[in-house]
């Protein structure tokens, strides 16, 4: 029982990371129908910028965090303006390919900037596990990550439900044509959506940095798994992203303990296959009815 509870705690912490990243994918896809495969590398850039400001430049953590967020957002906005938007004018399939190319480009370009070694990022509240009972514990950093995830989810949902811009983003996601008729500026909504997406990815990057080896390849597998979480939950559905993220985190934690940790990375894909086989639209996704 203790082992199981410990797994659940670890799984929720892992799930929190997937959730934040799945949300950063799904907000882009839900609003603009864009699947940005470079999202994991946006996360990586956020992490390395956080490392640069907080560790290398020894800045205050929060100043470094905010700088990392701002620069990461700017990077994605520039990518959108210079690459994604012009390509989207030709075809969404080309954009899809371009985002895959962008992932590789960002990974390699980051090596030029940050170097190819692995760095370690200090735990913010120390690395000594907090004992919940004698046999169950949680690393403070994981507690922080779970807290950050909860705050981000609440802020995001309040923003989407309570603000005019959030409502306009929902409107664009449902019917871009009608939204334009309401006077919504699609280009402005696109920029805001990319900014939110990049901000979430960079926040995830900085806060999870102590748990990983900080290097330029860190985003590749995490980005892919978070994408899987978003698709499992129902791509474009925010609640689905949370459900998908948490399920994936729990399955990985439980699977690597009870089955084998050698297959840790395989669980995500097996789970994806099973869920898509049973429910192609994802757990909370709606069936898309194409009108003829």
């Amino acid at each position: 029982m203790n082992i199981f509870l410990q797994c659940v705690i670890n799984g929720v912490a892992l799930g929190a990371v997937y959730t934040i990243m799945a949300l950063s994918y799904t907000i882009l896809f839900g609003t603009l129908r864009i699947a940005n495969f470079a999202q994991g590398d946006i996360y990586m850039i956020g992490m390395l910028l956080g490392f640069t400001f907080y560790v290398t430049a020894s800045m205050n953590f929060f100043v470094g965090l905010i700088l990392a967020i701002i620069i990461t957002v700017l990077v994605l906005l520039i990518i959108d303006r210079l690459i994604y938007r012009p390509i989207l004018r030709t075809s969404s399939m080309y954009l899809f390919i371009a985002t895959i190319g962008m992932a590789t480009f960002l990974r390699n370009a980051s090596q030029l900037v940050f170097g190819s070694e692995s760095y370690s990022f200090p735990h913010l509240l120390g690395s000594k596990p907090l004992q919940i009972t004698e046999e169950i514990s949680i690393v403070p950093q994981n507690l922080i990550i779970i807290g950050v995830c909860i705050v981000l989810v609440i802020v995001l949902f309040l923003f989407m439900r309570k603000t005019k811009t959030g409502l306009a983003m929902s409107a664009v996601s449902m019917n871009p044509f009608a939204a334009a008729l309401m006077g919504v500026n699609y280009s402005k909504i696109t920029t805001i959506t990319y900014a939110i997406s990049a901000a979430m990815a960079s926040i995830a990057g900085v806060f999870t940095a102590p748990m990983y080896n900080v290097n330029t390849t860190v985003g590749a597998s995490l980005g892919l798994k978070a994408l899987i979480a978003a698709v499992m939950g129902g791509f474009g559905n925010s609640v689905g992203a949370i459900v998908g993220g948490m399920i994936l985190g729990l399955v990985e934690a439980l699977g690597s303990t009870y089955i084998s940790s050698a297959y840790k990375d395989a669980f995500a894909f097996i789970l994806l296959l099973i869920i898509l086989f049973l429910r192609p639209q994802g757990i909370l996704g709606r069936k898309r009815i194409t009108k003829v």
């Binding site: 449902m174 019917n175 334009a180 008729l181 309401m182 006077g183 919504v184 500026n185």
Partner: protein
């Protein structure tokens, strides 16, 4: 009377297909003008060009004396043109109230929308009962009421309506047209694109007949109702 809308020799293309081949029309303030014509004649394209959601190939559009030919739709809506699109295009996952709120998107955040809600709920009491239901769960007629109300929320000077009657029962269409008369009396100029020529001519001051991208003829609606060419093609003889 002053001219509120002036379209001059407008052309537009879908890819290589020439949808509008030089359409000119004028609308006076306070009028109800209808544009009738067969499917694919270019009526919807004309409205989309006016409100700025479709690119024009040549020609000009003037609204209250300002050239809006190259103006973006977000600015055009702000200037005072709203459109009820064909097929209603309700935000299906948003509630009726949220749909209306989206209609008021161009208005200032500080403005109180209560008088506007009262206005549209006064015209369409049914919507008030359904205020918290999702737009997608309304019936076709209710959705059309919502689409008209949503357009009114921006307080437009000029209301463009694309196929008000499509897919609705005749009784309902009649009451929707009555509502439009009401809206018009309160000061909104209306341009109405319709396939139901009979209804449209009865409820409008003037009419333009569009055939394959050009204005075939135009005139007072009452005269067109008696016109042999119109009767033969659009009113079933």
């Amino acid at each position: 009377m002053s001219t509120i809308l002036k379209v001059n020799d407008l052309t537009a293309h879908y890819g290589s297909i020439n949808a509008l081949k030089g359409v000119s029309l004028e609308v006076e303030k306070g009028e109800i003008v209808t544009v009738i014509g067969a499917n694919g004649a270019g009526k919807s394209t004309l409205l989309k060009c006016i409100v700025g959601v479709m690119n024009k190939s040549s020609g000009t559009v003037e609204f209250e004396g300002n050239d809006i030919t190259r103006t973006g739709s977000d600015k055009i809506v702000r200037m005072g043109i709203a459109m009820v699109p064909e097929g209603r295009q309700i935000f299906s996952e948003l509630s009726v109230l949220e749909n209306l709120k989206m209609g008021a998107y161009t208005r200032s955040k500080k403005e109180d929308l209560t008088p506007d809600y009262d206005l549209v709920f006064g015209i369409f009491p049914k919507l008030k009962e359904r205020a918290h239901q999702k737009g997608g769960n309304l019936s076709g007629g209710e959705q059309q009421m919502l689409a008209v109300s949503r357009a009114l929320m921006s307080r437009p000077k000029l209301l463009l309506i694309d196929e008000l009657s499509m897919g609705l029962a005749p009784v309902l269409v009649e009451s929707l047209f009555d509502a439009l008369m009401d809206i018009n009396r309160k000061g909104t100029t209306i341009v109405l694109v319709e396939q139901d020529a009979n209804m449209a001519l009865k409820f409008s001051n003037r009419a333009y007949v569009i055939e394959t991208g050009i204005v075939a003829f135009s005139g007072k609606s009452a005269d067109l109702l008696e016109d042999d060419r119109v009767r033969e093609i659009y009113l079933g003889g």
